[in-house]
């Protein structure tokens, strides 16, 4: 557990963690040892000279003071270590997430990662801050007490020691059997969450089919699975909890019976026996709390494991001696890329000379967007090579590579901040005039005029307060400001109404001027301005040439073009 914690956190934090663990152990030891003083105190009080108890009581007082001090120091150390670790883990996770390939985030990953980062990290840190101390104390204090007991009476000590391996075995067994059911439960929970989200998002459609909750079987099934899994968890936890309680209580019963037997036989003094039984009671309580703490630790462990998995995901390899490309022509050489068992790009070769525009056209699912992603190294290719200025993108420093691309996606996400902040993201050190110029060029100025607050209007989470076209203009302004030599456009205008489309087109034209451009497009008029067009199908280039050439060839592209010009069906 601690080892995994340290791996997740990074070993530079080993020092504070070890110190905290040592302090907590010392605190628990002092607590256990201080109880030894109960024996002489009680012996004196139950004997004929109760006054003899005072020196021992002073000693006990001293021990309690020492315990209090240690406790304060170790608590504080736990908090400080916890907060340092929290900060460290967040920074580590943040940096790591920024380095992972974008391809990694596809599918359900986004939700998973944000849950992990917001709740998982806090839970993991809670281990240090408030589960570790009770856990250590619940283990160390009883052990110390057993040792103290043995020192006073070997028979009682032996009887108490017998419980140690039993309790340990039960704890370990329970831990193992719970791990499996816990995992199943988490899986069911995860599955159900997916179904709930689906149910919520699909409300309009589900209602159209009259499928509200009672009838939406898929959701109900997964909710029932959750119940089944949680029952199984509860039932599989029971033997551990009952077993532990049984073992601890049996130990106490044995000590009570054995002590009574010894005392009746005159082998142990009454005061001594009573003191040892008080100690036995002190031993039992923390042991019983073990099953509760154990459950909480397992929860934290689960989060830690997932955190560990994310942190161990390899980011794209960084070149040892990065090369800086001088030119900005793009070249794909026999590129093959597979995802999920499917070949998305299949031995594709093409090149875009510096300053030229390439349009990529093709039916949906033909690999157009993937092509753009490979150029910017969102993924690494499975075969062949992608080169920028003649240099394999894998040999270029990732930050340097990214700095050379301006990418405009179809779906734009903005940060919750002002419009200006979002535009400035393109080049944080840009001066005021440059930012304004970029905004004007992207026709963002008219949007800004309309918004209350203008430049400092907040865009809302993910840019929710702007329409799709307005968000698109922000992203174009951002790309213009960035002024990168290569521009990648992904179906930029396909979801826009004509008014926004016209505005966006103006911006795009300015963005493309003099740069190397690869654009995925459906709107044929963008395509027409390209120097060259490739028609993609099934991850391969099926046609290639200028717009006019392809049109005159009368192939797939020409068909596509015709279809797009046909005003209406059946006329």
């Amino acid at each position: 557990m601690i080892r995994m914690l340290l791996r997740v956190l990074g070993h530079e934090y080993a020092g504070p963690v070890r110190r905290t663990v040592a302090l907590m152990t010392a605190t628990a030891l002092v607590e256990g040892l201080s109880y030894a003083l109960l024996v002489p105190v009680l012996r004196a009080l139950f004997g004929s000279t109760p006054g003899d108890a005072w020196p021992w009581l002073y000693a006990f007082g001293g021990a309690v003071a020492g315990y209090a001090l240690l406790r304060y120091v170790s608590d504080r150390s736990g908090f400080l270590a916890g907060s340092t670790l929290l900060r460290g883990t967040y920074h580590r996770l943040g940096d790591h997430l920024a380095r992972l390939p974008i391809g990694w985030y596809e599918g359900g990953r986004l939700g998973e990662v944000s849950a992990l980062a917001s709740r998982g990290v806090l839970q993991a840190m809670a281990v240090i801050a408030h589960l570790l101390a009770p856990f250590i104390s619940a283990c160390v204090t009883p052990l110390t007490i057993v040792a103290v007991m043995s020192a006073f009476n070997w028979q009682m000590g032996l009887a108490a020691s017998a419980a140690v391996p039993i309790v340990a075995a039960i704890q370990m067994r329970a831990g193992r059997s719970m791990a499996a059911t816990d995992r199943e439960r988490h899986e069911r929970d995860h599955e159900a969450t997916g179904r709930v989200i689906e149910y919520l998002q699909a409300q309009p459609v589900l209602r159209a089919g009259g499928r509200t909750a009672e009838r939406f079987r898929m959701l109900d099934d997964s909710l029932r699975d959750v119940r089944r899994a949680s029952r199984r968890t509860a039932l599989s936890a029971l033997p551990g909890v009952v077993g532990l309680a049984l073992a601890v209580q049996a130990m106490f019963t044995v000590l009570l019976a054995l002590g009574t037997y010894l005392a009746l036989g005159g082998n142990i003094g009454a005061a001594e026996l009573l003191a040892l039984l008080v100690l036995a009671a002190r031993c039992a309580d923390p042991l019983l709390s073990l099953s509760d703490i154990g459950g909480r630790l397992r929860g934290a462990r689960y989060e830690l494991t997932r955190l560990d998995e994310v942190l161990r995901t390899e980011p794209l390899p960084v070149p040892a001696d990065p090369v800086q490309p001088v030119l900005h022509d793009l070249e794909f050489e026999s590129v093959t890329f597979r995802r999920g068992g499917r070949t998305v790009i299949d031995g594709l070769s093409l090149s875009v000379p510096q300053g030229q525009r390439l349009a990529v056209v093709g039916p949906s699912g033909s690999g157009k967007s993937t092509l753009l992603q490979l150029a910017a190294r969102f993924h690494d290719v499975d075969g062949g090579a992608v080169r920028l200025g003649g240099v394999d993108v894998r040999a270029i420093d990732p930050d340097d590579l990214m700095g050379r691309f301006a990418i405009v996606f179809q779906d734009v996400r903005l940060f919750d901040g002002t419009i200006e902040e979002n535009v400035r993201l393109g080049r944080p050190d840009a001066d005021e005039a440059d930012v304004r110029a970029a905004a004007t060029a992207a026709r963002l100025d008219e949007v800004i005029e309309r918004l209350p607050g203008g430049w400092s209007a907040h865009v809302g989470e993910g840019g929710a307060r702007l329409s799709g076209g307005e968000r698109q203009r922000v992203s174009i302004a951002r790309a213009l400001l960035k002024d990168a030599p290569v521009v990648l456009l992904d179906e930029v205008t396909s979801a826009l109404d004509p008014v926004n489309e016209a505005a966006v087109h103006e911006g795009i034209e300015r963005l493309m001027a003099g740069r190397t451009v690869v654009m995925v497009a459906h709107r044929m008029r963008t395509v027409r301005r390209a120097d060259r067009v490739v028609f993609l199908d099934g991850g391969r280039i099926v046609e290639e040439g200028s717009h006019d050439t392809l049109l005159s060839q009368g192939g797939r592209y020409a068909e596509f073009w015709d279809v797009s010009l046909t005003p209406a069906a059946g006329e």
């Binding site: 907060s83 009672e214 209580q249 002190r282 016209a502 006329e571």
Partner: protein
């Protein structure tokens, strides 16, 4: 989290009204819930017996003269039995509690799901799905301690010390008061934690935690931007700032509270309690006030007196979290469902009429300002206008995502509010921007609105939507499951959703053209499909393509939530008003495409 500071005082415990309690434990479960608590309390009380047995053994052994063997062994047996009873009852309580808990959670989740299936669809767009999913998932789980743990533990944390107190007072009242000193000390520390400074620190801590959660979500969701613009450090600055702020506020809070919290922990710790009892005991035994044997009960039971304070602190965080969760669950359950008519009326025909319809998402901000509109069966009405003019809102009134705040929408002469919602959904189908495919087979996805459709009909709809061939390429054809072995692109998903609407074959069709046609092939496919289905259908379309506008029977131009112009495309163009200007703007925007076509619109389509 970091709940070690859990002893911190509450921020106003909410009132427990009947409704709240109902959200915690639905009524049918109350008997079982009571059983959980009673079993736990009996078990906890039985747990006192072994301690009392030790006391009895001690008394018998330390009494002058030979010990009463029978009495001693009887005490040992009572102690052993007490332990067994405790074990049996607390295990039973825990077992029943957990089973009850899973049942209650299922019931709550089903209730939430059923309720969410009845609230206005429009309500969802303003609530984030993630938040709602959290309510159904995590928040319901967070009610767990309410049911399975805390009530039993809390009750026994008070009942057991109370029983102990009664016993201890009977033994020696002055000694009892001495034993209570640690509890009093701990309580005396509580006000120190409630000073304004401390409270402010805690609020900052809570706020900081909230900021971390939202900035991490922002950061992760925006990762593609972070990557695309390089310089990771710069782009996730907001996130790291939130982290540093949070850690700062945490440290401030710890610095303020650590001393007090540690003092409280120490005051309640067994060594300190034993020290107090022994010191008081030694003084009184020395003075001859107390028989030595009477000290024993205080050493054994006295420790248990701190339990309520400890339990209050211990259960507090969980209970607070559970309360907040219940609050959120209640909030969702309190959303007014879309009212269903008591006596539904069946619409006659499918003429749609909007009369003086006004609507606003928030009070005081109207999006639609008095719309009068008639959609005749067998006609296509194209809705045009600048973004923000209310087009999307208007079309959403037809499938009753919202009810108008003023005026009425009627279908076949009947107000939508008087039509059974299932009937309405059979009459009105729609294709809107966000395509949702469910993680189930492709065939089920197409047949979503018509669960008992023939497979042949499903295939016909798929063919019409130009997606049949693609489906056959999937590993299991129509049985392939979306997201598992059917990976479809965005355009393909849209065609599935179109097939869905075509299969539903409702007499009123509402569609948003913006994303309905993602590529030219789909666009053509859709046109064809729709053409075959027209006839008596009532169609309302948010039109973006000049072609669609040109072929509509009626064009309605919206601006600022009002109809500014309406008529056939040719009429409107001739009028040279706002629509004509709009048309020209569009034409120049798509100039390259309209070279060969799209000159002057013809009035209506030739049929």
């Amino acid at each position: 989290m970091f709940a070690k500071l859990r002893d911190r005082p509450g921020k106003g415990v909410e009132d427990g009204s009947d409704e709240t309690r109902d959200a915690e434990v639905p009524r049918p479960f109350l008997p079982r819930f009571a059983a959980v608590v009673i079993l736990q309390v009996v078990g906890a009380l039985a747990g006192l017996l072994p301690l009392l047995a030790v006391v009895e053994v001690g008394r018998a052994l330390s009494a002058p003269g030979p010990a009463d063997r029978e009495h001693v062994w009887a005490a040992v047996i009572v102690g052993a039995v007490g332990m067994l009873v405790r074990l049996a009852f607390t295990s039973a309580s825990s077992g029943v509690g957990h089973l009850l808990d899973s049942q209650v959670q299922l019931t709550l989740r089903r209730r939430l799901a059923a309720h969410l299936g009845r609230v206005p669809v429009g309500w969802f767009s303003r609530r984030r799905t993630g938040e709602l999913a959290k309510v159904v998932g995590e928040d319901v789980s967070a009610v767990h301690p309410f049911i399975a743990h805390t009530p039993g533990e809390l009750v026994s944390a008070f009942v057991v010390p109370l029983a102990s107190l009664v016993y201890l007072f009977a033994v020696d009242w002055r000694m009892t008061l001495i034993t209570l000193i640690p509890v009093v000390l701990a309580m005396a520390l509580v006000p120190l934690m409630m000073t304004p400074t401390r409270l402010r620190e805690q609020e900052e801590f809570d706020a900081g935690m909230g900021r971390i959660a939202s900035s991490v979500v922002e950061f992760v969701l925006g990762i593609s931007v972070v990557k695309a613009f390089g310089g990771g450090e710069r782009a996730h600055r907001a996130f790291l700032t939130a982290v540093d702020d949070f850690v700062g506020s945490f440290l401030r809070m710890v610095r303020g509270l650590a001393g007090i919290a540690a003092a409280m922990q120490v005051a309640l710790s067994p060594p300190f309690v034993l020290l107090v009892v022994l010191t008081g005991g030694a003084a009184r035994i020395g003075a001859g006030d107390l028989p030595a044997a009477d000290l024993l009960p205080f050493l054994l039971l006295g420790l248990g007196l701190t339990a309520p304070v400890a339990a209050l602190g211990h259960g507090f965080d969980d209970m607070q979290a559970a309360r907040r969760a219940v609050g959120r669950i209640r909030e969702v359950l309190a959303v007014q469902p879309l009212p269903e008519p008591a006596h539904p009326t069946a619409p006659q025909g499918h003429r749609v009429e909007l009369r003086d319809v006004r609507f606003g998402y928030e009070a005081g901000h109207e999006v639609l300002r008095g719309i009068d509109l008639v959609l005749e069966p067998g006609t296509v009405t194209a809705l045009v206008g600048p973004s923000g003019s209310g087009k999307s809102t208007l079309v959403r009134l037809l499938p009753r995502f919202f009810d108008p705040t003023h005026g009425s929408v009627t279908l076949g002469g009947v107000d939508l509010r008087e039509i059974d919602s299932r009937e309405l959904h059979r009459k009105v189908s729609f294709v809107f921007q966000d395509v949702r495919l469910l993680r189930t087979s492709v065939a089920d996805n197409i047949a979503l609105a018509v669960p008992h459709a023939d497979f042949d009909d499903v295939v016909r709809a798929a063919r019409l939507a130009h997606i049949h061939d693609r489906i056959l390429q999937l590993p299991r054809g129509y049985a392939s499951v979306i997201g598992e072995d059917a990976g479809l692109s965005g355009g393909e998903a849209q065609r599935i959703s179109l097939a869905r609407a075509l299969l539903a074959d409702a007499p009123v069709l509402v569609l948003d053209e913006a994303t309905a046609f993602v590529d030219p092939q789909t666009e053509q496919a859709v046109r064809r499909a729709l053409a075959t289905l027209e006839g008596t259908r009532t169609t309302l379309v948010i039109a973006h393509r000049l072609e669609t506008i040109a072929e509509a029977d009626t064009v309605v131009m919206l601006d600022g939530g009002s109809v500014v112009e309406r008529g056939s495309p040719a009429e409107l163009l001739a009028r040279e008003g706002e629509f004509a200007a709009f048309w020209q703007a569009q034409r120049s925007a798509t100039a390259d495409r309209s070279g060969a076509h799209g000159g002057v619109p013809r009035g209506g389509r030739s049929r």
